[in-house]
Amino acid sequence: MAQMAMVMNLDKCIGCHTCSVTCKQAWTNRSGTEYIWFNNVETRPGLGYPRTYEDQDKWQGGWELNKRGRMKLKAGGRFRKLMTIFSNPKLPSIGEYYEPWTYDYATLTDAPAQEHTPVARPKSLISGKNMKIEWSANWDDDLGGSTANTHRDPMLKKIADKVKFEFEQTFMFYLPRICEHCLNPSCAASCPSGAIYKREEDGIVLVDQDACRGWRMCVSGCPYKKIYFNHRTGKAEKCTFCFPRIEVGLPTVCSETCVGRLRYIGLMLYDADKVLAAASTTDEHGLYEAQRDVFLDPFDPEVIREAEKAGIARDWIDAAQRSPIYALINTFKVALPLHPEYRTMPMVWYIPPLSPVVEVVADTGEDAEDKGNLFAAIDALRIPIEYLAELFTAGDVVPVDAVLKKLAAMRSYMRDINMGREPDGSIPASVGMTEEEMYDMYRLLAIAKYEERY
């Protein structure tokens, strides 16, 4: 089958939130959706939106394997779901998202003559009352984590010894998130009404607004918490991958407006019959490779034949061949899935970020970019590699390390070209790439023309 997918290069994300704003303006700037951001950007470390959504011990999102190794919704089998349909305890409260507010702006114009300068006070959009603002969709923006919240941060539970919130050790990066449009969506499986479906032609996961009965099991079932409840209509809503745009050949709003130019969209062909087996991979560390194995090689004549047989149009095959997603996931192998351990087979992948080297290395007078230091420097990056592994590879540092080394090697290799020196073929070789591959990867990541990103 075919799937529209996205890769975000976190190494280029500037954390500007333009994607969030353009998405919200286009889709959720209306009554009932005030608190909803189909696209949000999280500063990491940080608690995310809604807070601590990654704590599946608490929220029970996604899938797990039962004792027999069979897939089971973490929140309980689907039978149990039906039985508990009227009381769902695994829902984040509005406080976990945030209490949306506005201001008494009109008073600025209308205030009568008075003692003090007029001021617009915050008013809850839930209760209409005055409020003190205590949390927002992006409350921990640019904090780089905070001591006050460490104990609540599910990401830090396993690697607390690697992260210290001290000025000298500060690190942070940004994680933009939309719906993962999973190959194995736990939201759809959670829905008692069958209102959530995956579009056959492009895999976009949608909520049928007519069929949705507002049970909110999908909210619980989604481990990424990317399905939201519209409290005005009583229906679930989620990122639509901007299907009205995709259908006419336009990239999603969040992608086209991404001023960091870090989002790629493309088509992936995959073997639907292999999804369940892949998602059921016993070892969590194997999930990343297992998902890659589900993807089909669009250049494989056999695949092309089968696809044509299945009625997939020629231009779709062409699109799959030109897909930057395929290149980043399978050719260059620099993109990784977000939380594969949720077993939903997510289809928005990420290139992990490099970060400045810590002072201890720089103090030695070494140049972290020297070829000889390249790999030592990877070990000295400010972002602990274990943190990235918790996000992208269920804690396995090996694939993350491989990606970071490729990025660093690319910079080192390209520097020679940039400075007019003879390029050094041993650099790409050291990360298992040819010079041509490395140059192609550089063009896709750096030059990244509009028509090559989408």
């Binding site: 333009t18 700037n29 089998g77 506005t102 905070s146 500060t170 056959e200 607004q209 709003v253 140049d367």
Partner: protein, 1244 residues
Amino acid sequence: MTPPSKKSILDPGMDGALSDALVRSRRFFTKGTVSADLRTLTKKGGRGADDFYRDRWSHDKVVRSTHGVNCTGSCSWKVYVKDGIITWETQQTDYPSVGPDSPEYEPRGCPRGAAFSWYTYSPTRVRYPYVRGVLLQMFREAKAQHDGDPVRAWAHIVENPQRAKAYKSARGKGGLVRATWEEASEIVAAAHVHTIKKYGPDRVAGFSPIPAMSMVSHASGARFVNLIGGSMLSFYDWYADLPVASPQVFGDQTDVPESGDWWNAGYLIMWGSNLPVTRTPDAHWMTEARYRGQKVIAVAPDYADNVKFADEWLPAKPGTDAALAMAMGHVVLKEFFVDRTTPYFTEYVKSYTDLPHLVRLEEGADGAYTAGKFLTAADLAGHAGDENAAFKTVLIDANTGNPVVPNGSLGHRYGEAGVGSWNLELGSVDPTLSLMGTAEDRVTVRMPRFDTADGAAADLPRGVPVRRVEGHLVTTVFDLLLAQYGVGREGLPGQWPTGYDDATAPYTPAWQETITGVSADAATRIGREFAQNAEESRGRSMIVMGAGTNHWFHSDTIYRAFLTLTNLTGCQGVNGGGWAHYVGQEKVRPITGYTQIANALDWNRPPRNMIQTAFWYLHTNQFRYDQFGADTLSATTGKGQLAGKSTADIIAQSARMGWMPSYPTFDRNPLDLSDDAAAAGKPVGEYVVEQLKSGDLEFAGEDPDAPGNYPRVLSIWRANLLGSSGKGNEYFLKHLLGTDSSVRATETPEDQRPLDVRWRDEAPEGKLDLLMTIDFRQTSTTIFSDVVLPAATWYEKHDLNTTDMHPFVHSFNPAIAPPWQTRTDWDAWQTIAEKFSELAASHLGVRKDVVAVALTHDTPDAMANPHGVVRDWKKGECEPIPGVTMPKLVEVERDYGAVAEKMNALGPLVDTLGATTKGVTFELGAQVEYLRRKNGAVRGGVADGRPSLKRDVNVCEAILALSGTTNGALATQGFKTLEKRTGVKLADLAAEHEGKQIAFADTQGPPVPVITSPEWSGSETGGRRYSPFTINVERKKPWHTLTGRMHFYLDHDWMTELGEGLPVYRPPLNMAALFAEPALGNISDGAGGTEVEGLTVRYLTPHNKWSIHSEYQDNLFMLSLSRGGQNIWMSDRDAAKVGIVDNDWIEAVNRNGVVVARAIVSHRMPEGTVYMYHAQDRLIDVPIAETSGKRGGIHNSLTRLLVKPSHLIGGYAQLAFAFNYLGPTGNQRDEVTIIRKRSQDVTY
């Protein structure tokens, strides 16, 4: 898909048989397909249930526009319209390509811009004209009493102290009521007419910044103000965005690379510039260039957003950046100039810098020397009679060992003899960089230093090689520079560092570590790498420098230390290299056309352009709170020229010597002054000089508190003075507006008060009679205004937009017509002009106006003052001669009844005088004729037959047609003119586009690339990326400086006085010493003293992630993504000291005012420093302060103006005034504040 096979228990599968059965049953109830493995449901086609999203996406049209906000983005946007309603916006992606091997400019935009459409229908939108009720009522009554004459009605109110106080003291306290355009514009017009009549046109001021962001909108009011003879206030210097080092070093206001040129750099230092936040649409060039192998360094005191992209982070302490740069310069000089020579660098500095030029040494009483003036042709017997000899510098030709006077210096720029020789061609001359090899002697020179903790001046002896040239003891700038940087050479006397690890000697790496906290090794290595990269790549090392380093009192010295790095290493004028100053540096690419329209040069010249910092320093009475003299900053090597003077004294001195402009100018209405001269039967110049000498006439700046000298009318549009740029906000409220304030400072003690400037015992309050603002949203400025007029937004008008971050010009277009009673700026000012003309015809008629004009850069005025010697006629040091030792005096006729007619038509002076930009005069005959046809001609009145400027699109056409960057014929013409003076080939640069003329309709399509033009210093020819000074370097066209080269050395008297002849490190101002604020780090319990309890910290106001200045900070999207109100960031360590936790309500208190905000506590902040991201208006969730009992203030409630004397220098070479080119900066970074935890129960 194959049907499910019989499943083995070992196959992967779903959780259990029962649920399988349930899910399988779904097949019977839905139209979708349940996947064979029962995981999921798919559907194909149909999908009526998705209609909601399809419908939401649909729209009727998409209109191209942009945001006329004070940022440098200049992003082209798509504005979506459905059913006549603006729905949202996304970025355009149709920028012309940069080429196949480079990233593109698409998309450009940021979250702020993406949130703009919220304003259109928001409840903060100003929909109707408003006037404060108390004023409106008085006006109506007064008008009735005065036969319906609005002018007499206005006089009736403002000339009566009680009535005036009644409405002035109500400012900012609500009570705005709706008025009609008719009535509101009548009040505004009446105020103008009365003020002009009684006090003079120079008592009217206009403030609107940054024309590049919307040129027509800026020009609207500017044109009106300039037609009536009012003062337009500067902004670039006022914002402290002007890097004064730029005029000092380059003789140029600012010219910087477009962001696409970062791609070409091999080494990039982001120094105090948080690119992701402040250059959001450009930041990708940096992230992408890293993949090309560019090395990236971040220097920032906090772990800022940009640090994550750097290879290394140098967390230099706030304000100490020059120390780091000086140490890096020390390494570069030692390793690349002394230990070995670097051919590329040596050749570069010989040709393009003043390093080989000779400087005379002056012997002091103790036998030690100080650096003096440049040796000039006037000092050489064989050349003394040459034209402009005092402005031709001298160097030694290494071939002959003899002094030569090279081409290209200022003396060659003007006069007959210089034709064809104003160029940097050296011919066979090989400039001698150092006299070391040929020295006759070595002497010790006292080099100033300020590196003690409190910044106190000292000096240290360091030797230089010298020789005598016709009796003058001289050395080279290069030899002085080595001495300054402490790079010793064998056999030189004086004190020198023992090595890089000598922490006691400036300017070693170890020395800087004690100041900046950056390790000596890192400083050494980064300095070395920067130069190595430049050597290898021939100049492709770049420093992006931002407000973090440019908003300090001593930022000019910080920048000169940076520029030393780029200029020594041959990076300036090279693609991918040099300085990239990105602080409010907006570039009006079609500058010539814009200038004609905005300054109304087509009808009358010259305009009154005022330096805004000095204006407010005097007129908000901040000068009455100084606690130190102007000489506090002097070096021990100076002559005491500033001793005993106050800052106000030197502002007055600078004004009367013609260095800097001064409006209001005289203590008499300049219209009356003209009449008086006529009555006396004398030419106005002669009369004024006579009156000044007799003392019957004085400069207004010498008595700013005399009621006749107040600024009386202030119009603000496209700006938020009281919520954003007004440093010393509380002083504005108190003295300018006469309303409540939280000023806590005490007045200047008697022994430190000004000498020449009159001190009046009672400080005035409420100087301003009318504050009028045009805006589309409520701001601190509108809230305090007497009259508020509703403006069209950027999606409701036509205009033009450019930036220096990209090389395109593009347009604003209305997506909807201006709603409610809003009007475009152009329309609003036409309304005012019409009403004004109607009233002025009878009240003012035709008058003559005496305009005093400062000695101006890029004109022969720059040669008024040989050697930069101070000559004050008032002290009897010379005669007052207009245009030489005092301002030029020009009489201008003002037909006040015809102002509206002139607004609407392009006047005749462009035909006869042409248009001059940076010394190049363009002839505009053909272009005027074109405009007459394009725009249509005006019929009747004073403008009969002139091209129409009635509509905003007409103005767009005029700006485009009259500029070289948008009209290839003019670019070529200008280069040909310049070729005559320089004698070098230039016109080919524009030849490829000689026939290209950009019309407004062209800008309504994709952004249009501009044309290489002599209006700027770089070249886009052949599609290359713009980098400044490439024309200077590649074509040997001189810089607009004394030597014609980039300057390391500045020999003006006051530069010497401050010890800043050469780059030097000066620490942040010590507010404890200057103003008796508590010392940094002090924790007070508030007991016993007058000070409040809390922790004293450095107070910085960087640019906000969630706004562009005050724009967007009130936008609900931005507030929802941040913390929804005023915040102060502080380190967890500091917070712990005073018991503050995240999101606590706190107060920041110092002598200037009080702020209430919530704390954001983060370990990414350095200890000892807090950030209050600037321009969070006081209107959003600001409670009453405990400390003052008043509404909490804004970020600028804690700051005040401090004027650096050297910024007032004028009349000398590149140190001469031009609007927004040179002037004192409104810096604000050196401030400190007490942070206290307050009660968490807040009231409003």
